[in-house]
């Protein structure tokens, strides 16, 4: 009986820990007051409306969307062949390749950001936008490789031999047989990559420059100057966006199988 009670208490505390900030953000977003505060002073939608009027939010939202979509696509273009090679062929240095590919997950983002800034942006004079794109692609790559690898491991490799014997070339076999069978894995990798990129802070922090800021970085900037609840409103909107994406993915793909 005690252990049962204890587990309920633990569960409640964990849920409060996980959901509490979200509740606070949503409440603060709906505040009628002039400053970011909890509990909110009155109820109003004006800060939610204000979000859409801040010009830097619009620019940084566009940049974040661009990075999330095209960074993820680039990571998949690189990652799918890597995953395929790793699952189908016994590669020399296969383990090393896998470690290198998953390094961005293990190495703290601050270090990745600093390294890219110090050795890519400064010496090579790469523009901030390009550096951000490279960084996001590299950060998403491990997720892409992992999720697609899981799909490939579940796919029998003898169907590829069957296709070859029926007259298909190796390349055609990949597009006609392998790709259609791992498409839900690729979609899952895309969603995971998108969300990872969109929410990325530490690396982007180092690589943001004047006028080129991703949305999360722009929110930090904004808060340093203007301490009104519109940041909370934006955060709440983004949270709802993420939740609906993951909810839909789970509903239609069984997302949790891949992650």
């Amino acid at each position: 009986m005690t252990s049962r009670l204890l587990s309920y208490v633990t569960l409640t505390l964990v849920l409060i820990f996980l959901l509490g900030p979200f509740v606070i953000i949503v409440a603060a977003a709906l505040s009628g007051g002039e400053t970011l505060a909890f509990p909110p002073q009155g109820l109003s939608l004006k800060w939610v409306m204000k979000v859409f009027e801040v010009e830097s939010f619009r620019a940084s939202f566009a940049l974040s969307m661009f990075l999330a979509i095209f960074g993820t696509l680039a990571a998949l273009v690189l990652g799918v062949p890597v995953a395929y090679a790793a699952s189908r062929y016994r590669l020399p240095f296969g383990e090393t390749i896998r470690t290198i590919v998953s390094a961005p997950i293990i190495v703290p983002g601050i270090i990745v950001g600093l390294a890219l800034l110090r050795y890519l942006v400064i010496p090579l004079d790469v523009s901030v936008g390009v550096a951000l794109f490279i960084a996001h692609t590299a950060l998403i790559l491990p997720y892409a490789v992992r999720v697609v690898s899981a799909s490939l491991d579940n796919l029998r490799s003898d169907i590829e031999e069957a296709a070859v014997i029926l007259g298909s070339s190796r390349v055609a076999t990949f597009f006609r047989i392998v790709l259609p069978n791992i498409q839900s894995g690729i979609l899952a990798a895309f969603i995971l990559g998108f969300v990872t990129s969109f929410n990325q802070v530490p690396v982007s922090l180092f690589l943001s420059g004047p006028g080129v800021r991703t949305l999360p970085i722009d929110m930090i900037w904004y808060m340093e100057i203007t301490y009104d609840p519109s940041v909370a409103a934006l955060a709440a909107l983004l949270a709802f966006l993420s939740i609906s994406i993951v909810f839909l993915a789970e509903r239609f793909l069984g997302f949790s199988r891949y992650v």
Binding site: R156, D158, I159, E161, A162, A163, V164, I165, L166, G167, S168, S169, A172, I177, P180, N181
Partner: protein
């Protein structure tokens, strides 16, 4: 069936990296023949099959098919079919599209594809299943789809990897009959791989028994079953009493024993099936160690001066009790004569 060689494997050596799986194998197959590659796992039968399909490149040797050297022709241009042990159907395609896959690659007109696919599915008795996905079919049905998928390509040789091993006993018999019918109707040259002697005996025109990457014996089912030429083949097809022969005597645990019967044998070995052993009379005496009722017959294990003897007698004959001493004989005239021990 013509007498001319259709598929020829000549001095074929196959290896995975440095491990040699098949060494200098020679085999000629005639058009329309049904060949079984029989042997225990690891004997090289599947490796040989993969080499015929082109999925494995030979280390050395030559493969000729229908008069052309195909040793270096890639797998997708060989006109050879393969039915996988796991069936290997494309999970995202319907039954119809699975069977149509090869024809679509060949860019055949769609009317022809429709007609050939329907004919293929009808041949394996799956005419009504064309819009199902593989996951919605039973194992037996999946195998038929795999068979139809290979047959519609009209391959010069159709290879089957353990075609009956994944089916239950009743389906196995049905599929065996089916395979024979399909082979008769299509006239396709078939080579199938099996570790089950009963399958090979029931299906094949000729059996190729393999051991450790080499051919032990090639012959008709009757040949292999009744006249095994080596100790390995004899053992494999159920000759459980095998003796080496030296100077006309059989070699036992207790020294040489005269063969008797006025027979002089120059071969190095003799072998008897359990049901060839005479029980109740004869020149030798043994003690019954164990007896088991096997439906139509009774099986005995005897301890004798020759060593352990396995015998089998009709169940209608009176039973011998374990522990009793009985006379028995190994009639020399019934023995299989082994050329290699």
């Amino acid at each position: 069936m013509s007498d001319e060689t259709y598929l020829d494997l000549s001095d074929l050596t196959l290896a995975y990296g440095k491990t040699v799986a098949v060494e200098r194998l020679n085999l000629s197959i005639r058009k329309g023949e049904l060949i079984a590659l029989l042997g225990p796992s690891g004997c090289g039968k599947t490796t040989t099959m993969r080499a015929i399909t082109g999925l494995l490149r030979p280390a050395s040797g030559k493969i000729t098919l229908d008069g052309a050297d195909i040793t270096h022709v890639p797998a997708n241009k060989r006109h050879v079919g393969l039915v996988f042990q796991s069936y290997a159907l494309f999970p995202h395609l319907t039954v119809f599209e699975n069977v149509a896959f090869g024809l679509r690659l060949k860019k055949r007109p769609s009317a022809e594809i429709n007609q050939r696919v329907e004919a293929g599915l009808a041949m394996v008795g799956l005419g009504k299943f064309h819009s199902r996905k593989p996951a919605e079919l039973s194992g037996g049905q999946q195998q038929r789809v795999a068979l139809a998928r290979s047959l519609v390509m009209e391959p010069k040789v159709l290879l089957l990897d353990e075609p009956l091993s994944n089916l239950d006993a009743r389906l196995r018999l049905e599929m065996r009959t089916e395979l024979q019918r399909v082979q008769r109707e299509s006239g396709v040259t078939m080579v199938f791989v099996t570790h089950d002697q009963n399958e090979a005996l029931a299906l094949a025109d000729r059996i190729v028994v393999m051991k450790e990457g080499a051919i032990e014996q090639v012959g008709s089912p009757e040949d292999v079953y009744n006249r095994p030429r080596s100790r390995f083949v004899a053992d494999f097809v159920g000759f459980e009493n095998i003796f080496a022969v030296k100077d006309g005597n059989i070699v036992t645990e207790n020294g040489a024993m005269a063969l008797g019967g006025g027979l002089s044998v120059n071969a190095p070995g003799l072998a008897w099936r359990p049901n060839m052993v005479t029980l109740g009379e004869g020149r030798f005496e043994g003690e019954v160690l164990g007896a088991a009722f096997a439906g139509g017959s009774r099986e005995y294990l005897l301890k004798s001066p020759l060593g352990p003897i396995k015998a089998e007698m009709d169940a209608a004959a009176p039973a011998f009790k374990p522990g009793s001493k009985i006379a028995f004989d190994l009639p020399p005239e019934r023995a299989a004569v082994l050329e290699r021990m």
